[in-house]
Every structure is written in C-alpha cells, then in structure tokens.
Symmetry: C2
Subunit: 400 residues, 2 copies
C-alpha cells in the first residue's frame, strides 16, 4: 500500500479528515514538473462542495457498511451513454432497481468509471471501469473505497488515490520489501510504517530469519477493510511474528529503542498533506536512530517521471543523515501515476550494505503459504537501481 | 513512434481507413488478460456512428489544416463543469468566442481532455488535459491528431492511440534504437519500418558507423505533421544518410536484397487491425532474410502487464525463425498503456550477439546536433532484459 496518513505529533484528538482531493477538475497553475516542489498547492486550497462527495458519507464507516453500500453499476449500455453523454452522467441503477445518483467520485469523469486525478500529477488521469462498489466508508483519517474493477480485480482507494489493485499489487509489495531485506544478511527485527493492507507483512513473512515484525498503521479501517476484501494481501496479518500497533508512525518511531531494528519499511503517502513530514529530515533522523549500525530503510519515493524535484530533495536529506549508502530504485506499477514508483534505500553507518547486489535470497520453499513470488527476483532487484540518464545525473550528483 | 499502419499486400488501392477505435465506451466481454489472444475482438466489431467522429472530418487533411483546425479549449472553469457536469460536456468556446460542439474525441470522456481507450486494454483509460488542438486530419490510412497538452508537451495521436508525447518520447525512441544498435559492432546499414515521426532516425543517426538508413513509412501525412509540429523528433530526417520511402513496409522487406541489413527496427502498431501481420511468422521470416548473418532486429512487442499471451506467441515464432538469440526487453513509457512497452530482440545465425551486454557504446560527442541522450545508457540497456518473475517464467520457457 502506497498511502498512509499520519497524524501530526502535536495533535492529541484525531485531526479533521484531510481535504478530499479526488476528481478535482482544475488547476489554476500549470506546474512545470521540473519545479514541482516550488509550485505545489496544498490540497486544502481546492475547495469542493461536500455535496460533491455526499454519497460517500451515506455509508457508515463500520464494516457492515459493505452490505448497505454494495451497488451494482448496472447502467444503460455505455455506447448509449456516449451517444447521449450529458444525460448519462447523473443517474445509475442500484441492485434493487432504484434510480439513484451515482456516487460522485465515479460519475463525474467517465460514467461507471473511477478516475484518479491529483495536483501531484496535473493534466493527466487514469481511469478504471467499475463493476461494483463493494465498500465506501469514512474513517477518522480518510475516505476508504473498495470496488470491483472490470480488468484489475478489486481496488483499494484512499482519499481518491489508488493504493492497490489485485492485478498489480505484487510489484509494489514485493519490491518495497525485498529490496531492503534481501540486501542484508539475516534480518531479524523489522518495522513497517503504514502498509495497512498487510501486503508488506505478507512479503516480510517470507524471510525465515525474521523473528519480530512491528507494524504501525494509523487507520484501523484500512486494516479491517483489507482483511475483509483482500484476503490474499491481508494474509500477512496471520503471521505470528506480527505485532500490529494502531497509531501514529512518527510517534512510534520516536519512542522506539535506539538501534533496535535491522530494517524499517515506510509505506507512505505522497508528500503533500499529512505525510509531508515523512519526506523531511527529522523523520529520516528518527528512522536512522531506530536502526542498528548497518541497518536499512526503504521508503516510497514517488515517480522519476513526475517528481524529480521532490526526489532530489529526499536524496539530499538522506545523504546528510544516512552515513552508509544512499540509493534510488524504481519499478513498474501500472496503476500508479506515470506507471512507476520509486524507493529510497539507505543504510546507517556500520557493516557496508551493497543494495545493488542482493546477498540474502528468498527461500521460496519456506513461504509456501504466501504463494510464490510473482514479480521479485534477484535480477530485477539489481535492475531496479539502473536509472534513466535524466534521473541518474540528478540523483548521483546529490547522492555522492 | 509506436504505431504504423500497413496495407495488406494484395490490395492495390489504399484500404479503407481503419475503423475508429477510440473513445469506445463498452466491451461486451470482459477479457481475462491471461487469455487475451483468444478473446480479442476485431476493432470492426465496434460500430460507432460517424456522427461521433464528425468533427474530425471537418478538418482537411492537408497541412494547412493547421490554421483552420487550431482551437483553443478555453472553457468555463472546470470546477464549474464538475459542479454542473452534464451541461459542460457538450459545448466549448472557440478562439473567436463562438460556442461550438467540442471535437467528439475530446468531449465525450472528460470535457477538455483527450482519453485513450481501446479493446487492447479494456477497462482502463489514460487521459491528458488538452490546451489546444493543433492539427486534425485524415490520411488515406488513419486519423491524425496533434494537440498541445497541459503537462506532456505536444502529443501525436493516430486512430485515437497516443504515439508520442514530447515529455516521454525519449524512452521509447532511444530504447527501440540503441538496444539493437549498441549490441553489434559497427552497424552500417539499417532499415526502419514505420517510425514516421523521425524519432528512430534521430537515434540511429547518433551512430557514426552507420552509412545508410532506409526508412519505409506508409503514411506521408505522419511524416509531414511530425516535421511541422515535432521538429526535435523529426530532426532525424535531416541526416543525409536517410533514404525515406513512402510505402508498405511488408512489401519493401520482401523486395529487399537478401542479407543486406545489419539491423532492422520495426516501429509498429498493435497486432489487431492492419499490423496483425507484423506479429506473425511470414513477416519475421522476411526480416530474417533481409538481415546479414548475425544481424539484429528490434520490434515493438507490447506490454508484459497487458499482453502476455501475445508476447508468448511472438516469442515462439521468433524462436523458430531466428537461429541466433531471442530476447525480450522492456522499458517505462508513462503515456503508453500500463506505463511500459516491450521489445523483441533477435539475431540471425552468424556471429553471436549478446544483447544483454552492449559492446558498441554511443559516442555522445559525435552526435551533438541531436542533443544528449535523455534516457538510454549502458546500465539501463542491460537492466531492460531483467523481467518480473511472472513474465520470465513464460518467456524463458518459449525462448529456450
């Protein structure tokens, strides 16, 4: 899971839900992607009427919302919709035959489709055809949607951003986990920040050397929804080595014993909004503090195609803080913006870590219950660190 | 350029324009992507009213259509469109203030956006925000559109499918060219099939050993449009080694002297519709015949995420025909479906070719006029052959 919302440390009550960021149709400025960090507009600047999201609020956030919110998107055949575009946008038929307003997040872009738009990737949108909405809820932190797509399996959406689809989640989960864990010998104690769907846990559990996995996820609804709708992902929770803490990952890390983890995996959201902190120095400092000498961190680090300026800053920060090695890797995830996602891989001062040459292969026979690896292998591990020239130039100048 | 339309050999007049395949809103069957070749539906089965594309036909296909068809997509602010969705779909304002029906291909999905949908990738769509339509024409073979996008620069669209954007064309052009040419010593004679935008020519021209470049593109309009709107791509045509033939690539290859090329680059469209032949044995046989012993071919080979069954068949065919080596490589191109595109790289019997370890680096200093490489380097060359486990299993079983 790419997204995790963190509370700000100084807030004791849960913060108000983040501004709704999806299906925003306009940007008043056209970002130059080479200067993205300078022009990012906080989500809160985009005012959307609550009406726009009214249908989201009808579903109760409790798990039994499944039944009440499950809605077949049976509609007039869509070529008719295309021929009669304006009329088709507003209405849909529910399972019991009622005509009702289609949930706003599905109807406003392509009728019967979910579209992902964000100020983080202005001027482009990726859309998936919706077969059935399985869950809509509102947690203390975010809007949670699960839908059955036509061709990507079930899809988890948080605050309008696709977190995982059954069809391509393997790439993200396997890479964010095994890039760090296969780069050090015998990882024993691992911390996962975020990753509420359980997919990273599933992957960590493939490593027989691991004795203990702490996981800190802020949003219990994400955990519950994943267990209900994504059993092949949430299977990670069944591992007896897992200690799940529902809470603020930043606070958890600050309270962690110094030098206590072999590896920290940060499965975070994008650096606008509440997760901004996770891309700044103090957070990386507390990660470094919690790692043993020669320990490793792997953190979600955006897209080379969209966010080079953000990446440049992260690399600079990491280079200051991690006295071992600092590397950028990337992989293909079709349903993430621009089709790729990157990772920062760093190690603390201590035994040298050569991330590009994995030394701790996964023993597939020891993890049969989690199914075979679909994406990761030792070759693609090394290949992930080979960068296009436009990115290599920038990253290497900051990392060395 | 990914797309090239070929005539069928036995047709002497130009074939009717291919059925229009974009902005199709429905698929009657839900393809299982593991069995795609079995369920592919010919484009002609999708009947779309001409009205739907009426506005495309208004523009004359001549080059001076630029002025008459250029249209600012100045519109009511789009948050208003979102609040009042149905009303916003149908109308737009032109430069001189008239209200007019928005060109159908832009209006039916997201007002003011271009959306790419195809039976080749059912259930998903990628959309780009349109700033201005720069050209719309209809050649003997296809619909040609050029628009200025909000965040991807100028975009070339053929029959509704994005062929290149200024922002990410480097990845495709550099990889499809340098993967083959950097894998053999001193390539001298090169054939490009398709690639009417000139980008592959631009890249071939970086190799000082090359003495002659034949290029066979069927659609002169694509060449002309590229020269007018994409000068940084079409700069390839300025190289004096280029011999451009406007014609049918299949016929050109059949008439080529046996053993005459060091390398053939096939910049083709998808294997449904007229380019179907290019993914079948007879075509690969004529490529093999035209290559010298130990000569190489690189051909566009779809997406690992979307088209494994097609890829499996291509690999089987190539394994039968190319007695040297047979390899699959892939790279990231954000505006192609699933964010990746693959390449088949094969060599004929003769001096051994190890595609994974390039031996003919590009001398950057010799090609200053074409600008520096943006994407390709020797590391990313080798990395392109590292496949995810799900694909590796299938491809290696067919390739060996």
């Amino acid at each position: 899971m790419k997204k995790m919302i963190f509370t700000l440390l100084h807030l004791s009550p849960p913060p108000p839900p983040p501004p709704l960021a999806y299906n925003i149709f306009s940007f008043t400025s056209h970002h130059n992607h080479h200067h993205l960090t300078k022009t990012l507009i906080p989500l809160s600047r985009f005012s959307l009427s609550r009406r726009f999201f009214g249908s989201l609020n009808r579903a109760t956030p409790a798990m039994d919302a499944k039944e009440s919110s499950a809605t077949d998107l049976k509609r007039p055949r869509e070529e008719e919709a295309a021929d009669n575009g304006s009329a088709a946008v507003a209405s849909m038929e529910t399972e019991n035959g009622d005509q009702t307003k289609e949930p706003a997040c599905f109807s406003t872009v392509i009728p019967g489709w979910f579209s992902e738009m964000s100020p983080m990737w202005p001027g482009e949108a990726h859309s998936l055809k919706v077969e059935k909405v399985l869950f809509q809820g509102k947690s203390d932190y975010q809007d949670v949607i699960v839908f059955q797509s036509a061709t990507y399996g079930k899809v988890l959406v948080l605050d309008g951003v696709i977190q995982l689809t059954e069809r391509d989640e393997c790439a993200y989960q396997e890479m964010i986990t095994h890039l760090p864990l296969c780069s050090i010998p015998n990882p024993k104690k691992v911390l996962v920040i975020g990753g509420g769907d359980g997919g990273v846990l599933r992957e960590v559990a493939r490593h027989p050397s691991v004795e203990h996995i702490d996981m800190c996820e802020i949003d219990k609804m994400v955990v519950d929804v994943s267990k209900q709708f994504f059993p092949d992902v949430a299977i990670g929770y069944e591992d007896p080595r897992v200690n799940l803490v529902i809470g603020d990952g930043v606070a958890f890390l600050k309270n962690a014993a110094e030098g206590s983890y072999d590896a920290v995996i940060v499965d975070s959201s994008d650096p606008i909004g509440p997760a901004k902190e996770l891309f700044e120095k103090p957070f990386f400092q507390s990660v470094a503090r919690a790692l043993r000498p020669g320990g490793v961190v792997c953190t979600q680090a955006e897209s080379l195609w969209l966010h080079m300026d953000i990446i440049e800053d992260i690399v600079s920060n990491c280079r200051e803080i991690f006295k071992g090695s600092v590397n950028y890797a990337w992989t293909s995830v079709p349903t993430y913006p621009s089709g790729v996602i990157g990772f920062m891989l760093c190690s603390t001062e201590g035994p040298e870590v050569d991330f590009k040459h994995p030394l701790n292969p996964i023993d597939e026979s020891s993890s049969k219950s989690n199914g075979p690896l679909k994406f990761y292998n030792a070759e693609i591990h090394s290949a992930a660190f080979c960068l296009p020239s436009f990115a290599k130039k920038v990253i290497e100048s900051k990392a060395n």
